[in-house]
Symmetry: C2
């Protein structure tokens, strides 16, 4: 139930910092001297070797991992790692970094569940900050872990969830807990943004909410 991070470059390092900030267990795979030293200095668990080698993925615990995040610098190697990881563990959640637009599609075919392009994110963020600075400032605050006690979180509706079978109007989350429901994602992936009060919650739905951390914990418990 841990995370595996492949590559401790600039992107990989930031990935690890975020996991660390949320007290998530993870192990880093890298084979370059200086980066391996930095991993040790940061106090992170390290498997020294080539992440495209099945043996190293197994040593990092791929068979029981929650997710693999591959952030090495070359697209070809990220594709190769993704293919290897998918073959070893068909259930694994894989997030892969793409340096080029062309690689995005290849990484999906190789088995990545999500593909992240830092340059595209960077360009979108620059335009976003120029067009809507207050919105982007809010997102920056919400997506970082350590600045506010306010949080964007997701709640899965399970068979035994108190929200299962209720409408949002019945649940009265805003009034009773102070949290705001932003969206409901259905089991088939459909996203209902700013959902209406008559939206019925069912098993397999994911409710995306905004609120103080303590309020979110309240919302996840039956009243």
């Amino acid at each position: 139930d841990h995370f595996i991070v492949c590559g401790f470059g600039r992107v990989g390092r930031e990935t690890c910092q975020q996991l660390q900030a949320e007290n998530q267990p993870f192990v880093v795979i890298d084979n370059e001297d200086q980066r391996v030293q930095r991993i040790g200095e940061a106090g992170y668990l390290c498997v020294r070797g080539d992440a495209s080698d099945d043996e190293m993925l197994k040593r990092a615990g791929i068979m029981r991992a929650r997710a693999l995040l591959t952030a090495v610098q070359t697209d070809a190697v990220n594709v190769y790692i993704t293919l290897s990881a998918r073959a070893l563990n068909p259930q694994l959640f894989i997030v892969a970094r793409a340096a080029t637009a062309e690689a995005e599609h290849k990484l999906s075919i190789a088995g990545a569940n999500r593909v992240i392009s830092p340059y595209i994110l960077g360009g979108r963020s620059m335009a976003g900050h120029a067009l809507r600075p207050a919105v982007m400032d809010l997102l920056d605050v919400l997506v970082h872990s350590d600045e506010l006690e306010i949080w964007l979180e997701e709640m899965a509706i399970r068979a035994d969830s108190w929200l299962n079978g209720m409408t949002l109007g019945d649940a009265q989350l805003r009034q009773t807990t102070g949290i705001t429901v932003l969206a409901v994602r259905r089991a088939d992936g459909q996203m209902i943004v700013s959902p209406k009060d008559d939206t019925l919650l069912r098993v397999g739905d994911t409710v995306i909410v905004l609120g103080a951390r303590s309020d979110l914990e309240k919302a996840d418990r039956p009243r």
Copy 2:
């Protein structure tokens, strides 16, 4: 009232695509043959030359621009462009790209209003998708312009705004327009996330809302 984009590399190109998708006027400054050709092929306005040269910034209309976005590949050049632009136009909104963590602070000192680090965004996004895929999927949808008719938007409260002097409870935005208020940013920068009904809106506040584009237009008009 246009935007100036310096550098048409991977980040600059994506920045332009976003501005184009929202029908915003902009001009690109670049001095490299192949990139200048690509700017022309995309049908964008181009000033051919070195963006760290005051003359080129003036030719791109820096004195009357709404914002400058500097996305060249070297931090030193982005710092230089930021300094030059700030000296020419003290009112300009400047968004600068940083390649390294060390450059972030320097760009702020040089006069950038916002500093964007693609590698840091990439790492945060990777960890975010592994930890909270539904939340990140929602943000991806909301921050891109073309996928949904749902939108994160900001409304400035001006002296003549119908919302000026009202509480959120009085305004009843959810009930009357279907939009959701996520936060209120005060004039001093304080961000009130998931604000309560008794939050009073005043001149200088910015209300950050989520909703369908047609509903947002309604919300900005007095009833």
